[in-house]
């Protein structure tokens, strides 16, 4: 008899801990998504942190840790930008829903692939099933400057139709690469 009461308490504790976890994530989401710091502010913060904690290494991650992490991420991003040709100018997102297994986020992304610019908006639903992470794209809307080019408008419309974000990026990559190659070839012969 006592055992079942203890079990009920333990179940409630687990539920509360989960809820606290989710609420904390939601809070962090909103804070992250409603803030923006410019590159100058980032540099200022790096300098001020280095000054502030010269020699102090207790508690939190040391400033060199944060700086190292930041640099490593920037290096990765820079490498893949150069390698793939995709350069993202701006990215903002808003978390619409977050539960234990599901996250729904609305993304706004702008950038270019080689010399072709694009602007996208889409909604991404991510789910965790067992060990598998899957994502479903919906409400995809694509704006491209060169939409009058019939090749571009073809793959843009077909991507929007089925929320086919990946095909859009792959087709854009191929087309932009070819376009760039042609452009450079013409330049060469000028």
């Amino acid at each position: 008899m006592d055992d079942s009461i203890c079990q009920a308490y333990e179940d409630e504790i687990q539920a509360l801990e989960e809820e606290i976890g989710l609420l904390t994530e939601k809070y962090k989401d909103i804070q992250q998504e409603s803030t923006f710091f410019s590159d100058e502010e980032i540099l200022k913060s790096i300098k001020s942190l280095q000054r502030e904690t010269q020699g102090e290494t207790e508690g939190h991650k040391s400033p060199s840790d944060l700086k190292t992490q930041l640099e490593s991420l920037e290096t990765d991003l820079s490498f893949f930008t150069t390698f793939t040709g995709f350069q993202f100018a701006s990215h903002s997102k808003k978390t619409l829903e977050r539960t234990r297994n599901r996250t729904v986020q609305k993304h706004r992304l702008s950038g270019k692939c080689h010399s072709l610019s694009f602007q996208l908006e889409f909604q991404l639903l991510e789910m965790q099933n067992n060990e598998k992470l899957s994502g479903v794209v919906s409400d995809l809307s694509i704006i491209m400057e060169s939409r009058e080019d019939s090749n571009v408008s073809k793959f843009v419309s077909s991507a929007e139709e089925h929320g086919n974000l990946l095909t859009f990026f792959r087709s854009l990559s191929t087309y932009a690469g070819w376009y760039e190659h042609r452009r450079l070839t013409f330049l060469h012969f000028k």
Binding site: F37, V137, L166
Partner: protein, 267 residues
């Protein structure tokens, strides 16, 4: 006699002491759990309040910001770190992304079919500047994908080309497998028996009937996906138990043009 009686009394006293001890323990545990619950509820309620205030203080809405304190430099950097991580995650959605490792590059190839992102595959390449080669250190590419062949054809001079073609193979394979899974899930009553498929999912055969339309006739179909980089079949063959079936060429055409689940929806 007396000794036996004394023993019994001792035994009883001992048992009562043990029971009493257990009762105390349970009471302690119960009190501990209740205290923990009170503490967690308080924490949860505080978080809910904080969240409500923050939601109301969104820019453009009325209300005083809950926490107007300036962020510390550490908080600014942590924001930027999370921001960059999220951008790298978005990069994944382009299909070919990854990160740099100590000695090389870890590529992440994320596949998708129509609007659904599916499996990710990983490939770690180590550049060997002396021999001007790329060595594949580790990978999670399934064995029926011609990784070896492709690397011999493209590497080391054309890394981009190698990844593009590898990606096409993987994406088409996952797309075919996904179509089969969706088709089996959505049209389970139409399918007779068990569909047969090879590991590369480019040879598929199954039997089906159309409830309400085909009566007792059963269609037998074999789909061959001749191009490993495509997720639509190049060859459709089949027959019908009720011969001759005028419907079959129509079905054939649908299978050639549309993804499997969509083709069935059109039947």
């Amino acid at each position: 006699g007396v000794l036996a009686h004394l023993e019994m009394l001792e035994f009883q006293a001992h048992r009562e002491a043990v029971e009493q001890e257990e009762k105390e323990k349970r009471k302690e545990k119960s009190a501990f759990l209740r205290a923990k619950i009170r503490e967690l509820r308080l924490q949860r309620d505080q978080l809910r309040e904080k969240l409500e205030l923050l939601e109301k203080a969104q820019p453009g809405k009325e209300g005083i910001p809950a926490d107007p304190a300036l962020p510390s430099p550490r908080e600014v950097l942590e924001w930027k770190i999370r921001n960059l991580r999220e951008l790298l995650q978005v990069f994944q959605l382009t299909g070919i992304s990854g990160k740099l490792s100590k000695h090389g590059i870890c590529f992440c190839l994320r596949t998708a079919f129509e609007g659904s992102f599916l499996d990710s595959f990983h490939l770690e390449l180590l550049p060997r500047p002396e021999s001007r080669e790329f060595r594949i250190q580790r990978h999670s590419i399934p064995p029926f994908i011609p990784l070896e062949q492709l690397s011999r054809k493209f590497l080391p001079s054309d890394l981009r080309g190698f990844l593009d073609v590898l990606f096409q193979h993987l994406n088409a394979f996952v797309g075919r497998r996904h179509q089969l899974e969706q088709f089996q899930e959505q049209f389970s009553e139409w399918i007779q028996g068990i569909p047969h498929c090879n590991s590369l999912c480019n040879l598929l055969s199954f039997q089906y009937r159309i409830p309400g339309k085909s009566g007792n006739s059963v269609f037998q179909t074999r789909l061959l996906y001749g191009d490993p980089c495509r997720s639509l079949p190049t060859d459709v063959a089949g027959s019908c138990s009720a011969d001759p079936s005028p419907a079959f060429p129509e079905h054939s055409e649908l299978f050639r043009r549309l993804a499997l689940p969509r083709a069935f929806r059109a039947l």
